[in-house]
Amino acid sequence: MSELIDAEVAKRVLAAALANGGDFAEVFAERNAGLTMAIDESRVEAVQAGAAAGAGVRVISGATTYFSHVDGLDPDDIERAAGEAAAALRAERAEPRPLIATRTTPLSIEVAPAAVPAERKAELLRELDERGRGAGAEIAQFTASYAEVRREVSVANSEGLFSGDDRTRVRIGAQAVARRDGAVETGAETLGAHRGFELFDHDPGSIADDASRKALTLLDAGPAPAGSMPVVVGGGFGGVLFHEMTGHGLEADHIQKGASVYVGKLGEQVAQPLLSAYDDGRLPNEWGSDAIDDEGVPTQKTRVIEEGRLTAFLYDGVTARREGAAPTGNGRRESFRHLPVPRMTNTYIAPGDAEPEAMIAEVQRGFYAVSFAGGQVDPATGDFVFGVSEGYLIEGGRVTRPCRGATLIGNCLEALAAIDAVGADFEMKTGVCGKAGQRVPVGTGQGHVRIRAMTVGGTEV
């Protein structure tokens, strides 16, 4: 399990890291290898293989973290990095505790992607291309991408933790462009998991159909409405809304700096009782799942909202230690070149009891946001914005026509409290979340959700 660095090396590195004192030291070693390729203009291209190995060493003394990382897994280099991290400290040597190896069970991978011939992956892209282009004569362009990565990690710290994980993820994406006269519209869909190549056993080409269908639908789109109105958000990727407007604000680093609208709200009613939500890093083979986080803490299921009441924040080691809380397995990092920070894993709103059709039927004039191109939030103010990639107008309780170029904009606390229906349908989708210059895979999910009032930014005033 921990073959990246052996126990003796880890012990030496931790001792070197605490040579000038410190409350905590850790070494995180990683070896990764990946392959990406794309198809564009029906030509397989941008075939790229990448590999890296290295280690990051950090020492924490009081409120300060000292960090150094090095390429390669040569024990002498890692020890040198430890010395560099310790260089600015001036205190008495501290002693790390003896390491106790913890056995972890990495998520199961049936078919290692690296063992599948590259040509088979090129074939998969050609299949997507054929399906996507076959969706209609108005599909003017189609591109698709394939990515695989395996990350082996080992982590040891001065409190005796010694653990590891072996993570394999695969993901494909499809983007279609449809054209009719002057109108040009795009559609996209992805499929990914913490799994092996077996993910593609069941009709991966359907994402190409979906991408093309979205682009074709939008050809009939009119301008998006502008102003405040009820908004019904679709299931699955609609969960990015909750990820952005609530999830980030629950990350303990934002809370401790006072840079979250959820400061002081623990135990309070922040949503109607029909809403419960979770962060769950243990969902089997889900895109945002791992056996342990990047500090060696086993991932867990954390209930963040229970029947409208805020029940938990998401911690990494530093933020948990700061307030004497238990870590929640949310200390994640992009690679050995980064410091861990509190991050979501798979975040979702639990299924409710409303039927999506009934939720729409109750809306006189509103907006139906099926999927988003992305979103952004300022956790401190709670202001957020989402680009809608597929959206429709609701008139008289019915979905009437597609809209182009809509944006949803609002404030977290207001929007969360304004959720007045949660659908019984449920779906998880994959995303890549950016924070502190680091990108990590996250899952988002929900059924249909209705928000009583929200600002839709379109061009039709």
Binding site: R43, V47, T65, K257
Partner: protein, 468 residues
């Protein structure tokens, strides 16, 4: 580094590549984060890696790695060749030949060395590097970051705290070698500081960003960074929503830069050739108001993307994109130039050894106008000032340029700044926006978000604002 790159090219040829190119980078970087008067984290790291592009006939593949041992580089070269075998043939694939690059890149190097240095840069600077960078100890850098934070806290009584104050720098050496005889290397350094300040209002917290950048820490004004963050945060207290309507909009330099970076993406030949640009088939057309001139300048000594040569060894240069209302050219790397039967404009860009080159803007520079910021507001008379946008990556259709993005800012009433605004959107499309630019400010600054851009404030005559 150049020896490593040569070794990688030889290994690729031995692995069966008909042509090969290696891009080797060594980078040392430091970062200090402070919070509450204390150092929160201090990071230091050096990384070295190499990326190999291998061509087998008209097929191309790429591999990168950090194992620079003899065996490691050989394995990498083999993976690059394997990747090439998987790719489909592309008649335009191929490396630039050495005629595209002067023997020692001297023309470019001379301008970089003798131009008036970046602000505050030492006289002896080699243009792209601040030789004094190494003299700044981690303690001194922490001091600088703490000054940023304390200046933010002291600037306004309504500042409740600082989310983070950060200093970061990087010094890199790049070497590029190709089997067609291109060889070159250069070094450059860069640093930046920023603060995210928090202001406390009656209806909640507001944030404000302050930043500055340069070749080395001596070029930064830490107190000014802190003040800017504080002023931006405090200015937002009590913000409301604007009335939904169509009106004049002033984009401050940070917001204008985000839009210019997007426009730069649409002006790359790759976006145009693949039908993903609102500027396709518009060469020579009037696409902007005549007050707006836009250049790509890969040689501006202050620009972070400046270098003697681009990501495949072709000299960087200054290219007029929009002048006298007309669209003059697209931005080319070798592949896109082959496809259009044009010449590379030296715009093959990489983000490190992990990425293969692709056509992309270097530094985008909007020519400054005559009007001060205050005069620009006077011109707008009645409208909205936008000081921040969110959701640009999701709110813009790259094919049509149609956008709707989240914004915050201030009301402009009778030519003067009035109450703050938040939670509204601005919507238009990129070409309409360029045509609607009515005046250009004189307040140019470098903005490093989403690209390297230098631009003043812009007055757009008409845009849809959606609020209440």
């Amino acid at each position: 580094m150049i020896a490593l790159a040569r070794r990688a090219v030889e290994a690729a040829s031995a692995a069966g590549a008909s042509d090969a190119e290696a891009y080797a980078v060594e980078d040392s970087g430091r970062e200090v984060r402070v919070h509450g008067g204390e150092v929160e984290s201090l990071s230091a790291a050096t990384q070295r890696g190499v990326g190999i592009r291998a061509w087998i006939g008209k097929r191309v593949g790429y591999a990168y790695g950090t194992d620079l041992s003899e065996a490691g580089v050989r394995a990498l070269a083999e993976r690059a060749a394997e990747a090439a075998r998987v790719a489909d043939e592309d008649e335009f694939a191929g490396p630039p030949d050495s005629s595209a690059a002067p023997p020692d890149s001297s023309a470019a190097a001379v301008r970089l060395m003798h131009a008036d240095g970046a602000k505050g840069a030492p006289e002896a600077a080699g243009g792209l590097s601040d030789p004094t960078l190494g003299e700044w100890s981690p303690d001194r850098l922490a001091e600088l970051a703490l000054v940023i934070e304390s200046a933010a806290l002291a600037a306004d009584s309504r500042i409740a705290g600082v989310e983070q104050a950060v200093y970061a720098d990087s010094a890199e050496s790049v070497a590029l070698v190709s089997s067609l005889g291109i060889e070159g290397e250069y070094s450059s350094s860069s640093c930046y500081g920023y603060v995210q300040a928090l202001a406390e209002g009656e209806e909640g917290r507001e944030t404000g960003l302050g930043f500055d950048l340069g070749r080395g820490p001596a070029a930064l004004d830490p107190a000014a960074i802190g003040r800017e963050g504080a002023e931006r945060a405090a200015a937002m207290i009590g913000a409301g929503k604007p009335r939904s309507r169509t009106c004049p909009v002033v984009l401050d330099p940070t917001v204008a830069a985000s839009f210019i970076a997007l426009i730069g993406r649409g002006l790359t030949a790759s976006a145009v050739q693949r039908g993903r640009s609102p500027f396709a088939e518009r060469l020579g057309d009037e696409i902007a108001n005549q007050v707006l001139a836009l250049h790509d300048d890969g040689l501006d000594p202050e620009g972070f993307a400046s270098a003697p040569f681009d990501g495949e060894g072709v000299p960087r240069r200054r290219t007029a994109l929009i002048e006298s209302s007309a669209l003059h050219t697209y931005l080319y790397d070798t592949y896109t130039a082959n496809r259009d039967d044009a010449a590379s404009t030296g715009n093959a860009s990489r983000s490190g050894y992990r990425s293969q080159p692709s056509a992309s803007a270097s530094n985008l520079v909007v020519a400054p106008g005559e009007l001060s910021f205050v005069e620009l507001l006077g011109e707008a008379d009645d409208g909205v000032l936008v000081t921040d946008v969110a959701g640009l990556h999701s709110g813009v259709n790259p094919v049509t340029g149609v956008f709707s993005v989240g914004a915050s800012g201030r009301v402009i009433r009778d030519g003067e700044l009035a109450e703050p605004l938040r939670e509204f959107t601005i919507a238009s499309d990129l070409v309409s926006m360029l045509r609607a630019v009515r005046a250009v400010g004189a307040d140019s600054r470098w903005v490093p978000f989403g690209g390297s851009v230098k631009t003043p404030s812009l007055l757009v005559g008409e845009m849809t604002v959606a609020g209440s």
